[in-house]
Amino acid sequence: MTQKHSPLTELMHAVLDGEASDAEARELEMRLAADPAARVEFEGWKRLFEALGAVPKEHAPEGLVASIAAAIPQAPGAAGGASQPFPAQRVLGHTLFGVSRRAPIRSVTMTEQTTRRIFAHRKAWLGAGVAAAAAVVVAQVAFDFPLAKDVVGTVIPAQRYRAAQNGSEQVQLGAPAVQAAPTGTVPDASRALAEKSAAESALKADKAQTELKADRMQSELKADRAQTELKADRMQSELKADRAQSELKADRMQTEMKAEKAQAELKADRMQSGLKADRVQSELKADRMQTEMKAEKAQAELKADRMQTEMKADKVQTELKADRTSQQ
C-alpha cells in the first residue's frame, strides 16, 4: 500500500539524495525557514539518511577473488591463449551444460548450481588431463609393437638412424674385395636387424618427446596455478589492508559522531543555561519595573497628599482671613 506524499516531502528527499537543483534547494531552505513543523520533519529524514549511510557494509568472504580468478576464462574472441592451457569452453564446461555463448543474459541457463559444479569439477578435469597424458606414456612403454617387414614403410624416421649406425670405422678403404663379397643371406638379416633397432630408437625418441611434452604441460599447469595463487594471495592481502582501513575509518567516524554528539549536548546545555539566564534577567527586570512602578505610585500618592494638604492649608488660611475681616 502506498501513501500519498506531499511535494514538500518529495523535495526534502531529493535534496537529501543530492538530486535537487540549486533552485530547488533554495526553495526548500525558504520553506523550512518559514515552517517549524517542516523543519522538524526534515531533521527526522536527515537523521535517517545519515544512519543509512553509517550502516556497516558486508565484507566479501576471503577467497572469493581467488576462486573467481582461477576460473576466469580466456576472453571471448581473444587471440592466443598462452596463459590458459585449455579453451574457455573446456574450463567452464559450456559444452557439458549446453550454454549458448550468444544467448542474451536473461535467457542464459547457466545457474549458480552449474557454476558450483564447474568449480567443484575443475580440479578433477585438470587431474584427468594429466592422468590421460601419463596413460599414453605408460601404454607406449608397456606395449612393444611387433616389427615386421610389412611395417618398414610406416617407420620412416628409421631411415635417419640407419645412416647413423654405419660408423666410419666400418668403412675399410683399400679392401674392396672383402667388401664386395657378401653372402646371400647376411645382408637381409643385418638389414632386418638394423630396421628393428631403428624402429626401436624412433619409438624411444617419440616416447621421450611425449614425456617431455607431458612434463612441460605439468610444469605449465603448476606455474599457472602458482601464479593464480600468488595473485590471489596478493589480492587478499590488499583486501585485508582495505578492510583494516575501512574499520579504521568506521572507528574514526564513530569517534567523530561521539564528539559531535557531545558538542551538541554541550550546545544544548549552553542554550539551556542561556535560556535560564535570560529568564532570570527577565524576572529581575520585571521585579525592577514593578518596584519602579510602586515607587512612582507612592510618589504620586505623596504628591497628591501634599497637594491636598496645601489645598487644605490654603482653605484654612482663606477661612482665617475671612474671619479676621469679619471681626474687624
Binding site: D17, E58, H59, L64, A69, E112, D242
Partner: protein, 192 residues
C-alpha cells in the same frame, strides 16, 4: 594494484578505467579481469546479500555474476556504465535464485531483530546504534525495498543509474525509494 574502498567502487567508480580494463581483457589480458573482480567483488557481494540475506548464496551469486560477465565481456556496450551492467546482472541473478529457492521469508540465522534495546534511558541512540538497528530493520523488509535502499544508500547510485539497473523509470525509482524509507522509519518507530 590497490583495491578501492566500498564507497569508491559502486556507482561512483571511474567508468573510463573500467572500460579500459574490459578492453584489455578482451584482448587477452586475464589480469585485467581480475582487477575488475577485485574492484567490484564487495558491492556485488553486498547487492546479492541484501537481496538474498544469506552469505552462502551471496558468495555463489558473486561467482556466477563474474563468470557470466567474463563470458559476455564482448557484449558489454561502453555507452553504459560497466557498474550498471554488472549490477543489473547481479540483481537479476539474485532475484532468480530467490524465486527458485522461495526462502523470501527465511532470515539468515545470525540476524536478530532489534527488540527493546533502543528503549529506556538511552532513547536518543547514537548514530552507530541506529545504524545497527537499521540493518536489522532492513533485513525484515520486502526484497524490493531492500533493493532500492541498497542501491541508493550503500552503492550511492543516482536515480538515473537505479533506473538503468532496475529497468524502470526515474519517477518509479523516486516513489519506491520514498515508500521504502517511510516503511523503514515506521519499523524503527515501532521499536522505540
Amino acid at each position: 594494484m590497490r583495491s578501492p574502498t566500498f564507497a569508491a567502487v559502486a556507482c561512483t567508480s571511474d567508468e573510463d578505467d573500467d572500460r579500459v580494463l574490459v578492453e584489455r581483457y578482451l584482448s587477452g589480458d586475464r589480469d585485467a579481469f581480475t582487477a575488475l573482480v577485485v574492484r567490484y567483488q564487495r558491492p556485488i557481494y553486498n547487492a546479492a546479500f541484501w537481496v538474498l540475506r544469506r552469505h552462502e548464496d551471496a558468495h555463489d551469486i558473486s561467482q556466477t555474476v563474474f563468470l557470466k560477465v567474463a563470458e559476455r565481456a564482448d557484449e558489454y556496450d561502453p555507452k553504459y556504465k560497466f557498474f550498471s551492467w554488472i549490477y543489473r546482472i547481479a540483481v537479476n541473478e539474485s532475484l532468480n535464485l530467490l524465486r527458485r529457492q522461495r526462502h523470501e521469508d527465511k532470515l539468515e540465522d545470525d540476524v536478530e531483530i532489534a527488540g527493546d534495546e533502543s528503549a529506556g534511558p538511552e532513547r536518543q541512540a547514537s548514530a552507530a546504534q541506529l545504524a545497527r538497528q537499521l540493518r536489522k530493520a532492513m533485513m525484515t523488509m520486502a526484497t524490493s525495498d531492500r533493493l532500492v535502499l541498497t542501491l541508493r544508500h550503500f552503492s550511492e547510485c543516482s536515480y538515473e543509474e537505479m533506473a538503468q539497473i532496475l529497468e524502470i523509470d526515474e519517477k518509479t525509482v523516486k516513489s519506491r525509494l520514498f515508500e521504502a524509507r517511510r516503511r523503514l522509519r515506521g519499523l524503527l518507530e515501532d521499536w522505540k
